[in-house]
Symmetry: C2
């Protein structure tokens, strides 16, 4: 199933540790319908969320290298852990614009918070990295940021248990402290979490802003393409979307349908080694 | 933190994709108190349960190689996915006895089942591999085997949510079909699951046999050592237990305490590459 010769000219490159970044791909596709995308899920080494900074950095450089070889015009780091640990490094070394998933969500939270009390939920790695806290504080030092790691949300999303009683009780347990802190805004700091939005809304109530970092990242990609004169404004024929994974495509394809519906096309396995 | 020069003579080598195998290490230590153990958790590449056979085979050979270099007298594959995919390969290539976690649990199930209706729960990879079904059927073709993947149980165990309402509802959902099939015996086909035994007992009821594959594997290790004349029957000073991981030890140490209590000693990070 390898197709190393298949390159899209001037596509948007997107990588994630696995499947979660598909929520970002979906938003980019919907917001920028003329753009081609190439998605890489490093499924042989997923998850990044529990791995060390050094390891995540190395993996991220390899993921980016794969996409750069395919001539992408912009790189999206659609993984919160990789954005937290490796974004600076990638920006230093790459010649194309690099968009992470943390800054866009953080910026939106700072814009919409009414009482300057923001909650952030994510994987253990993302929360431990303090990336959201530091980014939000750098944008507005007066915002108080309350964080909560929610390790069960990723397996719940992948299992398709997004609005059952198990998901609801897990959310009640994890969000208890954020509710007590009376945050007015919650950043969904993991690309899997948009699938749980309905349940999170039920637990947090109607008055709390839920920031979908996948949506915000797509908006940021649109802005950067426009600024750099890289945005496609027309095309002949439909946009193309390629999907690569580093382990067997079976599970990615099955769970990916849950993320994208029927829109997930052919998925090819590749090796990042050598 | 590397200590490549630290070898125990004639220890029992144990490897797992991560932390789950600690339940096996705990049982071996308790049953065979004179034996030294060396544990390797491949935490940089965890989990194996969702990865392909080819990938799991390659990782398992590297894990085994690391322990063989340290002069172990017996190798325990304390990971169900690796036992399902790589056991034959390891036995072909290694000069020491190799014990997996599937055969011992399967054998015990065949021995204790009263109505020849056995349930097996495990990760997606273990269940999909059909390893338990094939092993049980090869021991007694008349046993009907009913399987159920329970992807949330590993994150629940690692989160320490082993006897709360979320764990209970997850178990009710996953075990529904096994109860309907009226199995009289359930094999806990994943090394994390012994931590959920209380909840599984509550859901399945008192009359169903729960087979703890960690316990059965330790008994098998004792039998093999005895048969081969490799069992230590005395020693001066306490037995030693070394722990190695392939990613940062922080999370392993933290979650490992949940598995072993205070007994988890120093954990060193190593690289399997090169």
């Amino acid at each position: 199933m390898e197709r190393p010769d298949r390159n899209l000219k001037q596509a948007i490159g997107i990588f994630d540790s696995g499947i979660g970044g598909l929520t970002v791909q979906r938003e980019i596709k919907s917001l920028l319908p003329y753009e081609d995308t190439i998605y890489l899920g490093d499924t042989a080494r997923v998850p990044y969320g529990t791995k060390s900074q050094e390891t995540v950095n190395r993996y991220s450089m390899e993921d980016a290298g794969f996409l750069m070889k395919r001539g992408v015009k912009l790189l999206v780091v659609a993984c919160n852990t990789a954005s937290a640990y490796a974004l600076g490094n990638l920006r230093d070394r790459l010649t194309v614009p690099v968009v992470g998933v943390i800054e866009p969500g953080a910026r939106k939270a700072v814009q919409v918070t009414t009482r300057k009390r923001v909650g952030v939920i994510g994987t253990e790695g993302t929360i431990k990295s303090m990336a959201y806290v530091n980014t939000i504080k750098s944008m507005d030092p007066e915002v108080s940021v309350h964080t909560q790691a929610c390790p069960l949300f990723v397996p719940l999303a992948e299992e398709g248990w997004t609005d059952n009683e198990v998901a609801f009780l897990s959310a009640v347990t994890y969000l208890h402290n954020l509710k007590r802190e009376a945050v007015d805004t919650v950043v969904l700091g993991c690309t899997h979490y948009p699938l749980l939005k309905g349940t999170l809304r039920k637990v947090m109530g109607e008055d709390v802003n839920l920031i979908d970092s996948a949506e915000e990242t797509a908006l940021e990609v649109g802005r950067v393409l426009m600024e750099r004169g890289l945005k496609r404004t027309e095309r002949h024929g439909p946009a193309e979307h390629l999907f690569y994974v580093t382990d067997s495509p079976d599970r990615f394809t099955m769970v990916g349908r849950r993320f994208l519906g029927d829109e997930l096309g052919e998925v090819a396995q590749v090796s990042l080694e050598g």
